[in-house]
């Protein structure tokens, strides 16, 4: 199982699911109507490191974070 956390204004509770790559997570979230407004603008981190490929391999216990558009300062 991996966990998915939705940071900042997305405001959703942590989700857990079976996934072997980030592509599995993408396919699941694409089916989620609540995520439609966020999915194209979020960066993605695995275990707190930003990633750039849907082929990123996932292991049991990994944490995937979705980071919506930012504005510090």
């Amino acid at each position: 199982m991996v966990t998915i956390e939705f940071l900042g204004p997305i405001g959703r509770p942590i989700l857990t699911m079976e996934a072997s790559t980030l592509r599995d997570v993408a396919e699941a979230l694409k089916q989620d109507a609540e995520m439609a407004q966020w999915i194209d603008s979020c960066a993605v981190a695995v275990n707190d490191t930003l990633v750039a490929s849907l082929d990123t391999l996932l292991s049991d216990g990994d944490k995937i974070s979705l980071l919506p558009p930012v504005c510090g300062g």
């Binding site: 900042g8 204004p9 993408a26 979020c42 490191t49 849907l54 974070s65 930012v70 510090g72």
Partner: protein, 148 residues
Amino acid sequence: MLELHDGALNVPEILTRWYASESTSNYGAYIPFVGTVRDEDGIEGLSFDVYEPILTSWFDAWSAKVAPLGATLKMAHSRGDVLVHESSYIAAVFSPKRRVALETIEQFVEDFKASAPIWKYDLRGGERLYARERSTAIAGAGLLGSEQ
């Protein structure tokens, strides 16, 4: 050094403390940038969410980047509510000579705005409203919606 504070920053205390901490480090330049909440569009203030693990790794990467230039970075940011005319952000560069500090503070603050995992909300009428139109997607955003 990266500091996170609950609520508004105590700007005089932080700037003085940072100055004192490097007073014998032989730096010729200390250039701070202070971000203060402006009274505009009827807001009562701003509020911030911070994701500390990635903010810390982003800051550490910047510190490593400027170290060969002889520069040191310091940054403080607020979590939670910061009212109008209070300050939520301080970035500072110490360097042996002014040019490195002047150039670094601009690059650092611009990358902070584009990359640091911090989310801003307007405080208006008792509500906390995500400032989406003023926010910037982090480089590489949209991966989950892509067809790669």
